[in-house]
Symmetry: C2
Subunit: 179 residues, 2 copies
């Protein structure tokens, strides 16, 4: 049951690290989970409201304060565990780059080469970014109990980026011929 609110996972998870305002929560999600998750204000505020109504989070600093800090409650922690245990549901695939390449005959070889090259460049610089991030986080969080799990998410980015670079190179090779 429970209507898919994966948003609740991000929100409750964020608050499980430390209490914060909705605004700070959004920044945390953007900055920390940004590589594999995103939420907008339009989702966060209503979700927090719903979670408060359900008693899963509590508002500190006055119900009508200009700046209210939210904290996760006991029942919120239980709810988070429940949600984390629900089966992972992935969204239908929609890869604009592959869609374009598939119709490459129509698009033209040159334009395909350009697309591949810029995909390669993007993946390559992202790879460098992730590697730096990993080193930085290792220094900052290396001792916390969260570290092994944080590391996994960055590793996923690294593996993915490496694969993208190798793929683009292989494709560029096959398009190398004249004409």
């Amino acid at each position: 049951m429970s209507r898919s609110s994966q948003t609740q996972v991000a929100v409750l998870g964020g608050l499980s690290v430390e209490p914060m305002t909705a605004y700070a929560l959004r920044e945390a999600i953007r900055d920390v989970l940004g590589h594999f998750w995103s939420e907008s204000f339009g989702q966060i505020y209503p979700t927090l409201q719903a979670l408060e109504d359900a008693g899963h989070v509590e508002r500190r600093g006055g119900a009508r304060a200009r700046s209210s800090v939210f904290a996760i409650t006991r029942s919120g922690e239980a709810r988070l565990i429940e949600l984390l245990n629900e089966p992972v549901q992935e969204s239908p695939p929609r890869n604009g780059l592959l869609l374009r390449l598939f119709f490459g005959r129509v698009l033209g070889r040159d334009r395909c080469r350009e697309l591949l090259q810029s995909a390669r460049d993007a993946a390559s610089s992202q790879l460098a970014e992730y590697e730096q991030l990993l080193a930085g986080l290792q220094a900052a969080e290396g001792d916390t109990p969260d570290w092994p799990f944080i590391r996994m998410t960055v590793l996923a980015g690294i593996h993915h980026a490496r694969a993208a670079v190798a793929w683009a190179d292989e494709c560029l090779d096959t398009l190398q011929g004249e004409q």
Copy 2:
């Protein structure tokens, strides 16, 4: 300009291969582009209607026939090229598996291991599937001008699946310790 209708690319692209009914188009998209793209009936029918109104496709077999075949027109081909040349816009990331792993401390080591193992299994069998698909397509389409481009999309799947397996293995290693 032009509101993002990536759906139009899939539809016009499909019809650029050969004329077909809306129903067949949906099957083609599911079976052929399925690894990286998806469209539902609720998208395809209105899109075809809009494209017909714009003169980009034409309906053959009677306007009110029970089974009308759509064909791309000259202006539709131009439109397709135009759309293919628009910048690739990717949707915001939303990876449910990484979201769960990130909060692995809350989820628990055992459950994380399970998630990783089933992700590994899925990727591994997908890899085998892609490799078989590549061989099959090579035999069937190896001589067509579309082949190099079709191949690229399958290669992307292969690289991605291999990376997923390697990543899951690496993560499982770090979680191997007792406790």
